[in-house]
Amino acid sequence: MLERINRAYKQIARATTALGRRVNIMEVCGTHTVSIFRAGLRDAFPEGLKLLSGPGCPVCITDHGYIDTVIELADRDDCIIATYGDMIRVPGRKGSLEQRTSKGNIKVMLSAEDVLKLAKENPAKKIVFVAVGFETTAPATAVIVNEAHQQNIKNLFVFSNHKLVIPAIRALLSEVNNNIDAFLCPGHVSVIIGSDAYKPIVEEYKKPCVVAGFEPMQIIDGIAEICKQLADAAPAVSSVYPAAVSKHGNKTAQKIVDEVFDAADGYWRGLGVIKQSTLKLKDKFSSFDAEKQLNINCIPEEDLTGCRCGEVLCGLIDPPQCAMFTSQCTPDKPVGPCMVSSEGACAAWFKYGRRRRHRQ
């Protein structure tokens, strides 16, 4: 372990020397963010390395307009909302789903399969699935849509806000003010899309993309590999998570997603509209499309609260630089979505980021 840590230190020093400045690495995935904090890596690395928390938490990139629309649906007597756990605490302008749960029509799901079961058990209700998440959760949504189609289920509606990681990375790098030198790429997403998916990013922007798992030592290895590439000025796609991530990814999952969804322009909190970054149901499955069937009009909107989650997601500021952090915005009373999810950058900073005090 010590040998691998020393190797990382050496590579970080080489990279800072080669660049003549601090190295900025963005971990795209919220699970990486939490692992980094839990392992104490932020304090363990030398000053020359800066880790930025990117837009890889599904909750954090969800905008007010989407949440408000879900809450509007939750208020309808004929609807049951099926949602993943941490979505229920995201505040919209009319409160959060958690504040409506007393009606009994908001059901927390872990698995998309349970949504199908819920629809079958409640034939008189419209089951609205709050379909969020990246390439990891989209295949499960595609499977239930396909099954609902085959089983002729009429009361299931998918309100899709599934997002794609590669367009987001591209959007971040297209910003002229970005300060990102490389990406620590998400393990879970990469299992599905494969490491080759990052090749165009490396070719176009010359930024290293290294896939890592979530164990602290894998993250350390990933950072060492990134710094080596930066020092050698040889950006490439590589993986320190070869046991789980192949070059081509999970073809079965990719196929079912392609069968059910089309990519469309989508709104990301803090990043705005990103081309071809959201998954919407194909016309063939429009009878399951909540936006088309339930007379809703979801208009993406930025919050007006003064929350700076958008800048946090772009790696432009750290959470403590937001005036609301720990004052108006805490995990118990979150203002912005980055404070809601356990994997949000602000929540991770709040829980783990406090600096230690001196021993007497």
Binding site: R38, G40, D43
Partner: protein
């Protein structure tokens, strides 16, 4: 009574209530005191230092790997007495049952209660049974109260803790909380996670008997887990606490479940563990006593009390880095991806 269900009439106080109590509850663990079915139990005792506690149990699912709501309700109250340095002697049990609940299921739970109190050598001496309309409660709620006699050598309290004291946990952490959450989320693991639902009375009694005043403080780290317990100790004493991740016992399956759902194992509930603050010079001896007890074989010294410029709990991580362990806030929700 196979196939019969709880009706509102079972809670009416009449014959059916009487039958339910006699046939399901007293037949499981009746005794000369409880069988009188008086409004309160008269206890013969000459001791002055009596500890009394109560707790409500609303766990879902009612049956989980390693236990059930019955066993949990007994162990929970026994543990509250035990960590206070008291030997549990008598419990009460109050049942709130939802109309429609299957009597056979209630019988299974009562048999589990019977088995647990026999193992722990305590009696349930009074109780209450209510049946509420369908929808007014979720299947079955249990409230247990307990009294215990303070062990003569027990002298514990936050004020007795000082810098240098060691922190011991009696076994693997997070097992109960992750078992319950895995059940709820329908997760399966190669090695199934098992709740630690159990009693720590043997451990507590033996270490107090052997080490007396050297045991400075004990607590069972239930909701909020180890993080909440250590933060409370730190806040109450104004000392810092330093724990070492490499020494904290965690079952690999519990670790896998927590990683999958995105939970910090230190925040997760335990139902059969005790955190012990012990003077440094007797810590190894305390550890050996714990390890010889039925529910203490995985006990470990995980850290120490230290002087810092503010009360804070700090974890030395597996890679040798450090981070703060905060008091958990809000309820734990599984992550999306």
């Amino acid at each position: 009574m196979s196939g019969e269900k709880i009706l509102l009439a079972h809670g009416g106080g009449g014959r059916m209530t009487d039958e339910l109590i006699r046939n399901v509850i007293l037949s499981a663990f009746g005794n000369s005191t409880l069988n009188k079915l008086t409004d309160s139990a008269e206890l013969q005792t000459n001791q002055n230092n009596i500890c009394f506690t109560t707790d409500g149990f609303v766990v879902k699912p009612l049956f989980f790997n390693g236990g059930d709501i019955g066993k949990l309700s007994i162990c929970g109250t026994i543990n509250d007495l035990a960590v206070s340095g008291a030997k549990p002697i008598a419990l009460s049990m109050s049942l709130i049952i939802e109309e429609g609940f299957e009597i056979e299921v209630l019988r299974q739970i009562m048999n589990s209660v019977a088995k647990t109190i026999k193992e722990e050598n305590v009696k349930i001496v009074c109780g209450d049974t209510k049946v509420v309309e369908a929808g007014a409660a979720d299947k079955l709620f249990i409230t247990t109260s307990g009294i215990g006699l303070k062990l003569p050598k027990a002298k514990m309290g936050f004020e007795r803790i000082s810098a240098g004291d060691k922190i011991i946990v009696s076994g693997t952490l997070g097992d109960h909380g992750m078992t319950i959450m895995s059940h709820r989320e329908g997760m399966k693991f190669e090695t199934e996670i098992q709740s630690d639902c159990g009693s720590v009375a043997e451990i507590c009694e033996k270490i107090i008997d052997s080490l007396g005043e050297n045991i400075k403080f004990m607590r069972d780290p239930t909701r909020g887990g180890l993080a909440a317990t250590l933060n409370e100790i730190s806040n109450q004493t104004n000392y810092g606490i330093e724990i070492d991740e490499n020494t904290i016992p965690v079952h690999p399956s519990t670790r896998a479940a927590a990683d999958m759902l995105g939970f910090d194992i230190l925040d997760i509930a335990n139902e059969g563990k005790v955190v012990i603050v012990i003077s440094a010079e007797r810590a190894d001896e305390c550890l050996q006593i714990c390890k010889q007890c039925k529910n203490g074989k995985d006990a470990a010294i995980i850290g120490q009390v230290i002087k810092t410029d503010e009360p804070i709990v700090e974890l030395i991580t597996k890679i040798g880095a450090r981070r703060i362990v905060q008091m958990p806030s809000g309820r734990e929700l599984p992550r999306i991806c």
